[in-house]
């Protein structure tokens, strides 16, 4: 079937139109008035990404104007929550700019709640402010549309293209139009990857329709990782997956409950259990147990142990708080503006928090870079203060020249959330504009051979299905191809059983991880036999490809780090303790596309000293 090829040339290509991508698009235009800025998104930037349904809080705001917090405070907070291991240079950089981002959001029209007494932003907690954010994404998309030369919706980017003249430099990307199947070749001087992290790489708790109710958006298909990995960029902290304690089944958020409504948890018998586990946690992680606030993973750990001990389900005590009508409204609107599914679950089961203390549960693990977790690409830091080991050129540039990242794509920058991701997009954009302007006559070259080879690869699943379909009468079972859902379910089962999922109580060891790699290798081989009946399934096929590669990276990192740094996220049963002697460091990996080999190394951690 002949498919049209569309060439799109630009100065800066932003891959992904979520919070990070919209920030990058906006800022690129500010600094590059005459540059061609293109944003490409596999869905529609109006509602794409993790903020599709809105948010009820902005979880990263300093409040410097009111002396509420300083950037250093946020770095210490993130460092503490991640058990010491964050890129403090990158974190400080986001924290010092994020207030400006939030103020622009307000100016653009985001309704931010105000404290009636002081007129300041209504704080939910030390770092969080409350918003009426149902239209957070459309607002930010409007800003991006006013900045971009062109926005391409419904184009799934499958691969980055490399410069054929110089090694280790990016030159653009290829992808396909999910609607009409056209092949797209993007040629750019700089590429900013701001795609989605990894949901659906571990088996979720619900496996029917309920599979869709993941905590992190199901369309986050790890493109943020697979695209740089394939380009040879170094990745960091990919073992640092996050497990979330949230309301049962709907995974509705608990932040406003803990911080604003002042609710708390209890086991099934009405007992406070966290203190009970303190000593055993101290045996695992030492002095970290005394840090305030208690790191997220350690709170998870206490809950997991309590449930294993048979005293679940754990409940959120809401009956007192919900008697206050204002708090009751917040409790419900918290879901409606952020995770509508939780309101649906409670309505369906007649759960009114005034009468029932709702159940909590821990989710399956996710790998992403903007929450209480920081997996992603290893990036260069800010020029004004980053140590030499963290600085090799432009801010937020990866170890591949011309390749920048923002949002879930970048590793080491925990607790940035939506505002921080948008801010990181802005940081990467300014650096990318500088990069482009300083190379006005030096354009990377895309090789026709490379993109023609990729074209065949991109559409292969359609061809596999078309031909293989002739062998069977009907149905989904074929000996020669697998559907994307089959591959996804196999991946989720492998990761669940071997690489730390819920069925193993988040525990693994070297023999399990090694076996996991063997099974992943066979799955990778089978990916060449993916069969896609139509373009929608072709998109699913490429989402799976990205997920499998990211999962392989996660497994390699999990094997490499021989300690249990974040009990409550995952446990290495063969190295059950935190080991600051050997492992107070970042893990880095680099994938060789030709040999399929992973090179692992350690990188030092720099801390801001008082």
């Amino acid at each position: 079937m002949s498919r049209k090829t569309v060439f799109v040339d630009s100065d800066i290509l932003v891959v992904g139109g979520g919070m990070g991508g919209c920030g990058a698009t906006y800022e690129s235009r500010y600094w590059g008035r005459d540059l061609k800025i293109v944003c490409v998104e596999k869905a529609n930037i109006e509602r794409s990404g993790a903020v599709a349904q809105g948010l009820y809080a902005i979880n990263c705001y300093m409040g410097m104007q009111w002396n509420e917090n300083q950037p250093e405070d946020h770095v210490r907070y993130a460092r503490n929550d991640l058990m010491g291991l964050v890129r403090e240079d990158l974190g400080y950089d986001i924290a010092r700019h994020v207030d400006a981002t939030v103020h622009k959001f307000e100016e653009w029209g985001l309704p931010i709640m105000k404290d009636p007494k002081t007129g300041k932003y209504q704080r939910e907690g030390k770092w969080q402010i409350m918003i009426h954010g149902e239209s957070y994404k459309p607002l930010v998309a409007e800003a991006a549309r006013k900045a971009a030369s062109e926005v391409y919706n419904r184009i799934m980017v499958t691969h980055l293209l490399m410069d054929s003249k110089r090694p280790n430099r990016v030159a653009g990307a290829v992808g396909f139009n999910v609607r009409n199947g056209d092949f797209y070749v993007f040629r750019a001087k700089a590429v900013i990857v701001a795609a989605g992290g990894a949901s659906h790489i571990f088996k979720p708790r619900a496996v029917g329709e309920g599979m869709g109710r993941t905590w992190y958006a199901p369309w986050s298909s790890a493109s943020a990782y697979a695209l740089p990995i394939l380009a040879g960029a170094k990745m960091t902290q990919m073992e640092n997956r996050i497990v979330l304690t949230r309301f049962k089944d709907g995974y509705g958020p608990v932040g406003a409950y803990f911080l604003h409504l002042k609710t708390y948890t209890q086991n099934a018998y009405g007992q406070d259990y966290e203190a009970f586990w303190r000593d055993s946690i101290e045996k695992m992680v030492g002095d970290y147990v005394n840090h305030h606030p208690v790191p997220t993973c350690l709170r998870n750990h206490a809950l997991l142990e309590e449930v294993k001990a048979g005293r679940g389900p754990i409940r959120m005590v809401t009956k007192e708080a919900f008697k206050d009508p204002h708090k009751e409204t917040i409790g419900w609107e918290n879901f409606l503006g952020m995770t509508i599914g939780q309101a649906v679950v409670w309505a369906s089961q007649n759960i009114d928090p005034k009468e029932i203390n709702p159940e909590l549960t821990t989710s399956e693990p996710y790998v992403m870079g903007s929450h209480a977790t920081c997996s992603g690409a290893w990036a260069s830091g800010p020029e004004d203060y980053a140590p030499a080991e963290y600085q090799w050129g432009y801010n937020r540039m990866m170890t591949v020249e011309g390749l920048f990242g923002a949002g879930d794509t970048i590793g080491g920058t925990a607790h940035k959330f939506s505002s921080g991701s948008f801010t990181e997009g802005r940081i990467a954009a300014k650096a990318a504009v500088k990069y482009v302007m300083e190379r006005s006559n030096d354009r990377p070259e895309v090789s026709e051979k490379e993109y023609e080879q990729l074209r065949a690869v991109v559409y292969q699943p359609l061809e596999n299905y078309r031909i293989g379909r002739n062998e069977i009468v009907a149905g989904t079972v074929s000996p020669s191809y697998i559907l994307p859902l089959h591959g996804l379910q196999r991946l989720e089962k492998i990761m669940d059983e071997y690489v730390v999922g819920i069925s193993s109580h988040y525990t693994t060891n070297e023999p399990l991880l090694t076996r996991g790699l063997e099974l992943l290798a066979m799955l990778k081989e089978d990916l060449s036999c993916l069969g896609a009946p139509d373009l929608h399934q072709l998109q699913r096929a490429w989402e799976l490809q990205h997920r499998v590669l990211a999962s392989e990276c996660v497994t390699q990192h999990t094997l490499f780090r021989q300690e249990t740094r974040w009990p409550g996220y995952y446990y290495r049963a063969d190295h059950p303790r935190l080991d600051d002697k050997d492992w107070h460091c970042f893990t880095l990996s680099r994938y060789d596309r030709q040999t399929g080999r992973w090179e692992m190394e350690k990188a030092p951690v720099y801390h801001i000293i008082d």
């Binding site: 906006y26 235009r29 500010y30 600094w31 596999k42 529609n44 109006e46 509602r47 794409s48 599709a52 349904q53 410097m64 104007q65 300083q70 950037p71 010491g84 700019h97 400006a100 103020h103 307000e106 653009w108 029209g109 985001l110 309704p111 149902e134 607002l139 409007e142 800003a143 006013k146 900045a147 029917g208 329709e209 309920g210 869709g212 109710r213 199901p218 369309w219 089944d249 409204t329 419900w332 409606l336 509508i340 599914g341 649906v344 409670w346 309505a347 369906s348 007649n350 009114d352 004004d384 203060y385 140590p387 801010t423 802005r426 929608h536 998109q539 951690v605 720099y606 801390h607 000293i609």
Partner: protein, 153 residues
């Protein structure tokens, strides 16, 4: 909570197909109306529900864990910049909520090109667009390189 489309309300306009972040709202080949083709990839984000001009899309909680008889419906009114919710429990109890969604008119954001172009000094500084004014402090904070120390502290 996967979505479903009411047969007699859908007029086949395609707004849901266009907006769905998961690419799961598609057109049925018998009726040329919309339906959810992959409920197990539906996040219940309600983007399609809100986008439908005919209010033809509704949600039913995931069959894995949501008993029948509930209803969570939304009315997003751009002209008023409000979103209204009506929640009905399985046992008939009802809760209603209204929230603002925007404080400025749609389309009113000032594009970055409408600002004065940045100076060369601004370009070479660490400041992002609209800084330091947008920070609402005098100066963009920075660190001395000596403040960062390698290793365990």
């Amino acid at each position: 909570m996967p979505t479903f489309v009411y047969m007699t309300s859908c007029d086949g306009c395609g707004y849901c197909v266009d907006i769905c972040p998961s690419d799961i709202m598609h057109i049925d080949t018998t009726y040329r109306r919309a339906y959810n083709v992959e409920p197990n990839m539906c996040w219940e984000c309600y983007s399609c529900v809100k986008a439908c001009p005919q209010h033809a899309i509704d949600c039913r909680g995931y069959a894995d864990f949501a008993p029948l008889g509930h209803s969570v419906r939304v009315l997003r009114e751009e002209e008023k910049a409000t979103v209204s919710w009506r929640i009905k429990f399985r046992d008939g109890r009802e809760k209603n909520f209204v929230s603002p969604i925007r404080t400025t008119p749609w389309g009113s954001i000032k594009g970055p090109s409408e600002y004065a172009p940045p100076s060369a000094a601004a370009m070479s500084s660490q400041e992002l667009a609209h800084e330091p004014e947008a920070l609402k402090v005098d100066v963009l904070p920075t660190l001395a390189r000596s403040r960062l120390k390698k290793g365990l502290v």
